[in-house]
């Protein structure tokens, strides 16, 4: 662990300005502090976002807006979130432990780094940590790694549960950049596939920060569900997870949202499953046929071929639960 300077700006503009000069944001710190202690990250300047008071939570029939520094535990317990977007609350409650959720923030959660053990140990080569050094994970201990979206450079899995729920709901991120620049980006477009540059994980520009997450109103929101499958009953990252939301009208699925976690190098949207269900009756057969569409193009590694089967089963179970 290297020593660093800590800045505690009171405005977003000051924070962005500091970051544009080469600082690293720290929110709850539950991931970054680990990475610093393990020498995976060695920032010279940390910019603590605590003083920005960016903790607002709004959730109702008109949609949802979560400010970046809202705590995972607060969002999970928020009555509006639970009523209108249960998939978000469930994804958060399936994440980490109560202690971590009390510290972890919405923005930080979306930017958490992969759990790939090769990335988190500087004793290994890793293209994500040291571009061009190689990837021993692909031919190594790869059970937990991705079957979708990988490249010959990296198959590290995105570890966020929240992001899976938000990708299903087609969330948008409000970003703030230098010189008061504001822009929005779809969460589905926010994380990048590793390709030849697994070290570049998002479309964030240098110094740019997440100000808020916005989910548009959707009638499918209240009938949404998050299912997380893992070896340990709690406090573990997903082996496979599924976020689903359904709107059923007069026996027909009018809107459906499906995404998966634990299988992709980014939170994995499953439009093929959605397409197979839209305007269909939510029968067991339709749900089953749609779930079988999940994971097309999967490229498993030596230890994780079962994830494709498990993905389809998990999607099906989540759909069944939401449809019931």
């Amino acid at each position: 662990m290297q020593s660093f300077q800590l800045q505690r700006p009171h405005t977003i503009d000051a924070a962005v300005a500091a970051a544009s000069r080469g600082g690293t944001y720290i929110a709850g710190g539950s991931d970054l502090m680990q990475l610093i202690k393990d020498n995976v990250e060695a920032p010279d300047n940390l910019i603590d976002l605590e003083q920005l008071k960016l903790t607002g939570i709004r959730a109702d029939a008109n949609g949802l807006r979560l400010e970046a520094m809202a705590r995972m535990s607060d969002v999970a317990a928020h009555p509006g979130v639970r009523q209108h977007f249960p998939v978000i609350s469930e994804a958060l409650l399936a994440s980490a432990s109560p202690q971590v959720r009390n510290m972890g923030t919405i923005g930080g959660n979306l930017l958490q780094r992969t759990r790939c053990g090769y990335f988190r140990d500087t004793g290994f080569d890793c293209n994500k940590r040291v571009p061009g050094s190689g990837c021993p994970a692909i031919g190594g201990e790869n059970r937990m790694l991705a079957i979708l979206g990988g490249s010959s450079h990296c198959i590290a899995t995105n570890a966020s549960d929240l992001a899976v729920a938000l990708v299903a709901l087609d969330a948008t991120l409000e970003l703030r950049g230098a010189n008061r620049a504001q822009r929005t980006v779809k969460l589905r477009d926010f994380h990048r596939l590793p390709g030849t540059t697994p070290n570049i994980e998002t479309v964030l520009a240098p110094g740019e920060m997440i100000e808020a997450v916005v989910v548009p109103a959707t009638p499918a929101g209240p009938r949404s569900h998050y299912l997380k499958v893992r070896d340990r009953t709690s406090f573990e990252f997903a082996l496979v997870s599924a976020a689903v939301a359904l709107q059923v009208n007069n026996g027909t699925i009018e809107d459906v949202r499906v995404a998966a976690g634990g299988v992709g190098t980014k939170p994995w949207h499953l439009p093929e499953v959605e397409a197979a269900l839209r305007n269909k009756a939510p029968t067991q057969q339709h749900l089953r046929e749609a779930a079988e569409q999940a994971g097309q193009g999967a490229q498993p590694a030596s230890q994780n071929a079962f994830k494709l089967i498990l993905l389809r089963r998990t999607v099906l179970r989540a759909l069944q639960t939401a449809a019931a």
Binding site: R115, G140, R232, L310
Partner: protein, 733 residues
């Protein structure tokens, strides 16, 4: 009835929950500086060169010790368990994560920062990191069970009997590399006062630590003082004196300051042993009546390079004695790899071997279409078939009866996949457990003060199991004094010596010594009483006197102990005595037993396996404290559930480096994984195992857990999984 066995709260409970219990790394030593280890990133070869310039230039750095400037340590002596390396004595690399340097700085932060700047260039050679690929290098252990047992044994003709068998199992079972991961990491503070060394260290054995350090630094034992009042869990990884202890003392000598070294969680995976991976080949046969006719159990266990020491997981010893069978053949082999030195981990050999043994027994029962419990009863060993001795006691039949009754085993439908809870597959499995009763020589000092205090001292350890409490109970009952007047002190090498707290031997060993010392002290007290001028007991034999609630009672008079001591003109009566395994006990085969009953529920689509009910019934001999004993039982079962379903250290097969050296990815059970556990202590008020009748229950309760779960998973799913941990993909169909 006395106070032995009473479910008393542990005497150190309040200290622990208020943070008042001071663990090794929490002592404040004036002038103390901090050290951290640098570890290799290759598994085999040698260090070509260090580049220490950047690290040495860092603020606060006092010294960087490498093989080039390390103190040369003496290699004279050392017991069979000695960990011989890595002690920075040469540049050779034997495993990935091996200590290669120690950085000492004014603060911990400075040490850590500098350690990250140490650069090393290696001459790498091809490591042996895949056990299956180097099985042909297996060889018999040279110091099996520290030389106490042969690695192979045979009775009858297992091969011929196998051929004749009516039903057979011929299968290979695998248990993984596992790490102990106690809550408290290894921590050591070392200070030299001239040629005297004091270390505060978290250890399961202060006496061996004292001996090892004295040997390595060429000192007399009296020059080494080891202090360890509390241990935050050991499970075997604090049984040996591992190199970080020695390296801390070395660093303190070099920088001439007290030095503190606390391992990081990641370093806990490369510094203090692990349960080695095992490959176990079993060939069992039974006749048509369900009698075992042949048992062959060949165990291969992962080992380090021999230069580090030797450890062999003794997987097949239970197979020798658990069932009545005329033809038994066992063997143990070790497979040298470029990994660290393995070591004892809770029920070493018994837990891992039992998984194979009791899985194979279940497979035979299935083949015979016999209830698994009935099959075990048909092969019940009334005496130890290997030693040809009677058991000191064995109430395993009662364990089976009481456990199965509480579990409702009779309602089990034998067909796999036949029991359901809504959509979930329900499986019921069981297994027998056994663990040897170990006893080592131990010594205790008793001091009966004129100030109404009774202090006992022994150089033993309390791993969190309740040693402080149960030893005070044994003393209070033996002396017939109020429990509150007794204080048991431990964890200091200046106290009379006691063995390593391993092999579940502390209760039997130190308990027997407490009893012997208290009896000797009582005799001294009776002598005082007879000499007392006022009591008029001069001509009485000791048998005319007795102790009662802190008083000496004789004809027509009684006197408080403290008063008697005061009247003798002394501050205290002090007695030291010891105990060892007595000859009477040697006529018996001494084992604890248990019967484990598990219910699992398996999601037929998702493959998730959850343990939903547990009943364990145990023959632990006489119980010293029902509450701490119960805690041991449920803790051991929990440990076993981790072994069955979660725990596994992942080794990168190319580099031999551990990939999940943290407790996020090395999975230990959390509360949500553990069901309501019913643990029954079957009464067994025996006195054959030792005068206290104690068998030791630290390790017993985890034996059989993994097999019971594997057998339950088979019953739930119809899939026989012959390796642990059993994972989702193993049952996903």
């Amino acid at each position: 009835m006395g106070i032995i066995g009473e479910p008393l709260d542990r005497v150190d409970g309040r200290l622990k929950v208020t943070g008042g219990a001071r663990y090794a790394g929490e002592f404040r030593v004036p002038g103390m500086v901090h050290a951290t280890l640098v570890q290799s990133t290759i598994a085999a070869g040698a260090i070509a060169e260090f580049d220490l310039n950047a690290a040495r230039a860092m603020q606060g750095v006092l010294e960087i010790i490498t093989p080039d400037n390390a103190l040369k340590l003496s290699t004279k002596g050392g017991g069979p368990q000695t960990v011989k390396a890595p002690l920075l004595q040469d540049r050779a690399i034997h495993y990935n994560g091996q200590h290669i340097a120690i950085v000492v700085a004014d603060t911990l932060d400075q040490a850590l920062a500098a350690a990250a700047r140490v650069r090393v260039r290696y001459h790498a050679t091809e490591p042996a990191t895949e056990m299956d690929a180097v099985l042909d290098r297996a060889y018999p252990p040279k110091q099996f069970r520290n030389g106490a047992r042969p690695p192979d044994s045979h009775r009858g003709d297992a091969a011929a009997a196998f051929v004749q068998g009516a039903v057979k199992v011929d299968a290979t079972y695998i248990t993984p590399m596992e790490h102990h991961n106690p809550m408290e990491p290894h921590a050591t503070i070392a200070r030299w006062d001239g040629e005297r060394l004091i270390v505060w260290t978290s250890t399961q054995g202060i006496s061996p630590a004292q001996t090892t350090l004295a040997t390595l630094f060429g000192l007399d034992k009296k020059q080494v003082h080891v202090v360890c009042p509390f241990v935050g869990g050991g499970f075997g990884c604090k049984g040996s004196t591992w190199p970080p202890v020695t390296l801390t003392a070395m660093a303190a000598k070099i920088v001439q300051r007290p030095v503190k070294l606390v391992l990081t969680r990641a370093q806990m995976f490369t510094s203090n042993g692990y349960r080695p991976r095992t490959i176990q080949k079993l060939k069992f046969a039974a006749d048509a009546n369900g009698r075992l006719t042949s048992m062959r159990h060949d165990g291969f266990s992962q080992m380090s390079q021999p230069v580090l020491g030797e450890f062999s997981e003794p997987v097949a010893l239970s197979t020798e004695m658990l069932y009545a069978c005329d033809n038994v053949s066992i063997s143990h082999r070790i497979v040298p790899m470029n990994t660290g030195l393995p070591t004892y981990m809770r029920a070493p050999g018994e837990a891992s071997g039992n998984f194979a043994l009791e899985s194979a027994i279940d497979e035979l029962a299935v083949a015979l279409k016999l209830d698994p419990l009935e099959f075990r009863l048909r092969n019940y060993a009334e005496q130890d078939p290997h030693e040809n001795k009677p058991f000191a006691s064995k109430v395993l039949r009662a364990c089976y009866q009481q456990g199965s009754a509480m579990f409702g085993w009779a309602r089990r439908q034998p067909e796999p996949r036949s029991m359901r809870n809504r959509s979930m597959l329900v499986g019921w499995g069981m297994a027998t457990g056994t663990y040897p009763t170990n006893q080592q020589p131990a010594h205790v000092r008793v001091r009966i003060g004129s100030d109404h205090t009774i202090i006992l001292q022994s150089g033993t350890q309390d791993l969190g199991t309740g040693t402080y409490t149960v030893m005070a109970q044994v003393a209070a009952e033996t002396l017939s004094v109020p429990f509150a007047s007794v204080r048991f002190e431990l964890g200091d090498s200046r106290f009379p010596p006691a063995p390593v707290s391993g092999g579940s031997c502390t209760a039997a060993s130190v308990g027997s010594a407490v009893r012997a010392a208290c009896e000797a002290a009582r005799d001294r007290v009776f002598d005082l009483a007879r000499r007392d001028a006022q009591l008029g007991w001069h001509n009485l034999p000791s048998s005319a006197l007795r102790m009662e609630n802190g008083d000496v009672v004789g004809p027509n008079a009684r006197i408080a102990l403290a008063e008697l001591v005061r009247r003798s003109g002394e501050d205290a009566v002090e007695t030291t005595a010891g105990a060892a395994l007595d000859d009477a006990a040697k006529h018996f085969s001494r084992h604890a037993f248990g019967a484990q009953f598990a219910e699992v529920q398996v999601d037929p689509d998702l493959g998730t396996i959850r343990v939903t009910r547990w009943v364990g019934a145990f023959d632990g001999g006489r119980v010293l404290n029902a509450k701490t004993a119960h805690s041991q039982l449920i803790g051991g079962i929990t440990f076993g559930i981790g072994m069955a379903l979660l725990e596994e250290t992942h080794l990168d097969r190319r580099s031999g480096r551990i990939v999940n050296a943290n407790v996020a990815e090395y999975l230990l059970p959390v509360n949500a994984d553990i069901p309501d556990i019913r643990a029954i202590l079957v009464p067994n008020d025996e006195r054959n195992s030792n005068p206290l009748g104690v068998k030791g229950i630290g390790e017993l309760p985890m034996v059989g857990v993994a097999a019971a779960i594997a057998n339950a998973v088979y019953h739930a799913t119809g899939k026989r999984v012959r390796k642990v941990p059993i994972r989702i993909e193993d049952v996903l169909t």
